[in-house]
């Protein structure tokens, strides 16, 4: 904690590497760009920014370049990169932190479909304490997800007794909401930095 407090006393914004280190406890400078993470990343074929690129851009303070790319949002959090990194860099955790930075919307935005999904998901959890899948599908579709791409499959889901039509709320809903609000407050504070 102490070191970043220190660095924030300097003029100018906190460098991205320091910010990530403060959030994750990981040192982005540990990455020696061997590419092993990207070699194993299932999404490497689809993204323009592979995990090792992300590590490099963090070290080089290139929030701008990170904001423009899809890499962060396509990550499946499969942890392949993390479990094979020779240096314990944990690219997956680093990308979590970056997503968190971007989720505030201040420095860039996640792709619509993905953020719509996450938003819908969390809205369901906030509302019911658990995921109400039917509600998720509905709100996701309404919130910007591809329209009824899965429409042909939904009835069979119901037929198999897999989807409930009514939500089930947890009793401790207050507590769940408190958790959401407290975390949102922390995020707002972070945004203010």
């Amino acid at each position: 904690m102490g070191s970043h407090e220190h660095s924030r006393n300097h003029s100018g914004p906190e460098p991205l590497a320091a910010r990530v280190q403060r959030m994750t406890g990981l040192n982005p400078a540990c990455c020696y760009q061997c590419g092993k993470c990207s070699a194993g990343c299932p999404m490497a074929a689809e993204t323009t920014l592979r995990p090792h690129d992300v590590m490099r851009l963090v070290a080089r303070d290139r929030l701008d370049k990170l904001a423009d790319a899809d890499g962060l949002w396509l990550c499946l959090t499969c942890e392949t990169c993390t479990s094979r990194c020779p240096n314990g860099c944990d690219p997956a955790r680093t990308m979590d932190a970056l997503r968190e930075i971007f989720a505030t919307g201040k420095d860039g935005k996640p792709p619509k479909a993905i953020s719509a999904f996450h938003k819908s998901f969390l809205a369901q959890v906030r509302a019911h304490g658990r995921l109400f899948e039917m509600g998720l599908i509905m709100s996701y579709k309404l919130g910007g997800g591809p329209m009824f791409a899965d429409v042909t499959t939904t009835p069979s889901v119901l037929a198999r007794g897999k989807l409930g039509l009514a939500p089930h709320n947890v009793k401790g809903l207050d507590e769940v909401r408190r958790i959401f609000d407290a975390c949102a407050a922390v995020a707002a504070e972070e945004e203010g930095r």
């Binding site: 061997c34 590419g35 990207s38 070699a39 194993g40 490497a44 592979r50 094979r84 020779p86 240096n87």
Partner: protein, 673 residues
């Protein structure tokens, strides 16, 4: 009563300009015990030294204080002068009024006061000095070399050529170490066997080298110049005196399917075997874990197979041979136990290293390590030098080398760079290219570390002239599909993932110290790092000495080393050993600790803090010879004089000569108001 002489030096103007030297001499006159106090322009000059000598003789001085420059400058000079006048050298001390006073102050008055303080402090100390004599330790002028790889061989030959006897202990059945397994060696590509074998033979024939192969160091006692070493000569089941190395026994042994250690499992050997044809000594060994006779004996069954014994015309085979313990006195020890490669396999008993499942855990037969490749490329190897892959004996047309496996990997392996693999991978691509002309060698690397004479040129040659494809990036995973190995990698320079097919993959696995190095290091009481590499005393200035006087280190047991490094270190240890052996007696400053036997409580706090293992246990016996007390004893041959034990001892029973509590208390006392 003390009779101290004080000699204050002006050092020309150096001291005299700032310090009133005459006043200092005068100021010391009234100190109790001072019987002579003078100042002079250049104390270290010949007339200056004569003044000291004359005063000692004429005034019967019991102590001398020279207030002049730093003791690091002239302590030896004045001690020699004092000794010349018949005073014990250690009754002479220096007060540093130049570096610590006249040169760092301008205020003459303050500097003079300080100079008097400094001198009086030392006067009080000298009053408590006692005559000491330099410690003289006899030296047994024979050396022990542990490990018969190229480093051990070189050290043994150099010491023996220097005229001293050497005992060479090798745990394997033959000397030669890993170098005997190599095909050709970088950066010159000369044949490893061709340059090594003559040296091995030389060891065997050298009149001053006693070779104990198939032997291990059991225990080590003593200290520099005076080690007593017990060597376990393991039972070979073959009588060395009788055997003539004809090899008839190995021909008839029915158990022929044992993976050969020498060929890294790629070839087979019999239960009675000679590891390789050029072995030294050229004697067979019965592997008791694999011999049918011993396997039967272990199960309590009668001996069945005795084919080797029957074939032996010399009657050399002795199934009942026992291990023998032999004790040798030596004055110096060279540790040269070499390295092992990081095993890729999953089963690494007692090792917290996890192996590399993503590279096939040694479950894919055509994923091999560098030493296995050396055996394939070696003319004397299991394939007679043809590059054939283990699974089906086909020539691999696409070969891939992965660098830094287990190295530079703090997460799963070692954080250090193994230093030699960049070079041997470059060599391997060339050897491959020379043998499989239409094949393609691809290397996955992170950096190419080729920092030696001719090394960069060598590795560039592999790329520029011998067609090796170098791809910068690590591989994430490999698996087998049919008879090809699929490789999932990333080219960080191109910025693209790569999926590549290979027929064979060679892993450049990390170099680690030999198993059991920790046990050996503890026997020798030398320190080792967290990986087991033996620590050198100083990385720059004492690279082949260990922290324990008289024990030296050479080759890959100290850090990853290639052959030139290993040999250079070995020769350096030999010069250290020969330097030590140049004298019959060893002289040491008497600044060593001494235990007061009367008060020592035997708590051994001192033993725990001593970094040199200088503290030993001593039995105090009564008249009947029963041990009544065990107390500490500081071995003056080993003690380096740091004084840590003295500061630690709860009962103040151990004292560092020259820096006793009494001496330091008096100095502090003298500073008082």
């Amino acid at each position: 009563m003390a009779r101290i002489g004080v000699f204050v030096c002006h050092c020309g103007e150096n001291i005299g300009r700032t310090v009133d030297c005459h006043a200092v001499a005068e100021g010391c006159k009234d100190v109790p015990g001072v019987v002579h106090s003078v100042d002079y322009k250049y104390m270290c000059s010949d007339p200056g030294q004569q003044m000291v000598k004359k005063a000692i003789e004429e005034k019967g001085l019991t102590g001398v204080v020279v207030a002049a420059c730093s003791p690091h400058m002239h302590e030896k000079t004045f001690r020699r002068a004092a000794a010349g006048a018949g005073l014990n050298a250690f009754l002479c001390e220096m007060a540093n009024v130049r570096e610590h006073c006249s040169w760092i102050h301008e205020d003459r008055e303050k500097a003079t006061v300080k100079a008097i303080d400094i001198t009086r402090t030392i006067i009080e100390k000298v009053k408590h000095n006692v005559p000491l004599s330099t410690i003289r330790i006899p030296v047994t002028r024979r050396a022990l070399v542990i490990g018969g790889g190229i480093a051990g061989i070189q050290a043994a030959l150099d010491i023996a050529d220097g005229g001293r006897e050497v005992i060479l202990v090798e745990k394997g059945p033959s000397i030669g170490g890993h170098m005997s397994q190599l095909s050709e060696t970088f950066p010159t590509l000369d044949c490893s066997q061709c340059i090594l074998t003559p040296r091995m033979v030389e060891v065997y024939q050298h009149p001053r080298i006693k070779l104990y192969a198939y032997s291990e160091v059991e225990s080590v006692e003593g200290y520099i110049g005076n080690f007593k070493v017990t060597v376990r000569r393991k039972a070979r089941s073959v009588d060395e005196e009788k055997c003539n190395g004809c090899g008839a026994c190995t021909q008839v042994c029915p158990n022929k399917k044992i993976p050969s250690e020498f060929d890294c499992g790629l070839g087979k050997r019999t239960a009675i075997y000679v590891p390789f044809p050029q072995a030294v000594p050229n004697l067979p060994t019965v592997d008791r874990n694999k011999c049918l006779l011993f396997m039967n004996r272990a199960k309590g069954r009668p001996d069945t197979c005795k084919k080797c014994a029957e074939a032996c015309e010399k009657g050399a085979i002795d199934f009942d041979q026992q291990d023998r313990l032999i004790t040798e006195d030596v004055g110096a020890i060279v540790v040269a136990t070499g390295y092992q490669l990081y095993t890729i396999g999953k089963d690494q008993p007692k090792d917290n290293l996890k192996g590399y499942g993503e590279y096939g855990y040694g479950t894919i037969p055509d994923v091999i390590d560098g030493l296995q490749f050396e055996r394939l490329a070696s003319a004397s190897g299991p394939t007679s030098g043809k590059i054939l892959r283990p699974s089906d004996g086909k020539v691999p047309k696409r070969i891939v080398f992965l660098q830094c496996i287990g190295s530079r990997d703090p997460q799963k392996g070692m954080e250090y760079c193994s230093k030699i693999c960049c070079m041997y991978v470059a060599k391997h691509t060339m050897l491959y290219h020379h043998k499989v002309h239409d094949g393609v060698a691809t290397v996955f690397y992170m950096d190419i570390r080729a920092a030696g004479k001719g090394y960069e040129e060598f590795s560039r040659r592999a790329i520029e002239e011998e067609g090796a494809q170098y791809i910068r990036g690590r591989v994430s995973r490999m698996w087998r599909e049919g008879d090809v190995i699929k490789i999932l990698g990333f080219d960080t320079l191109e910025g693209e993932p790569i999926e590549m097919d290979a027929d064979m993959v060679v892993l450049a696995t990390a170099m680690r110290p030999q198993p059991g190095i920790d046990v050996l290091a503890q026997k020798l009481s030398v320190s080792y790092d967290q990986h087991g590499f033996i620590n050198e005393a100083h990385p720059k200035l004492r690279p082949v000495e260990t922290n324990t006087a008289g024990i030296y280190v050479a080759g890959a047991c100290q850090a990853p080393r290639d052959i030139p490094d290993a040999v250079a270190m070995a020769s350096a240890t030999a010069s250290k050993v020969l330097g030590l052996f140049a004298n019959e007696m060893l002289e040491r400053e008497p600044t060593v600790a001494r235990v007061d036997e009367g008060t020592c409580a035997g708590c051994f706090h001192c033993e725990r803090v001593c970094a040199y293992g200088a503290v030993e246990h001593k039995d105090i016996k009564d008249r009947a010879g029963n041990v009544v007390r065990v107390i500490a004893y500081v071995n003056p041959g080993v003690c380096q004089g740091c004084g840590t034990c003295e500061a630690t001892c709860p009962s103040k029973s151990v004292e560092l000569q020259g820096f006793t509590d009494e001496q330091i208390w008096s100095e502090i006392q003298a500073l008082g108001v």
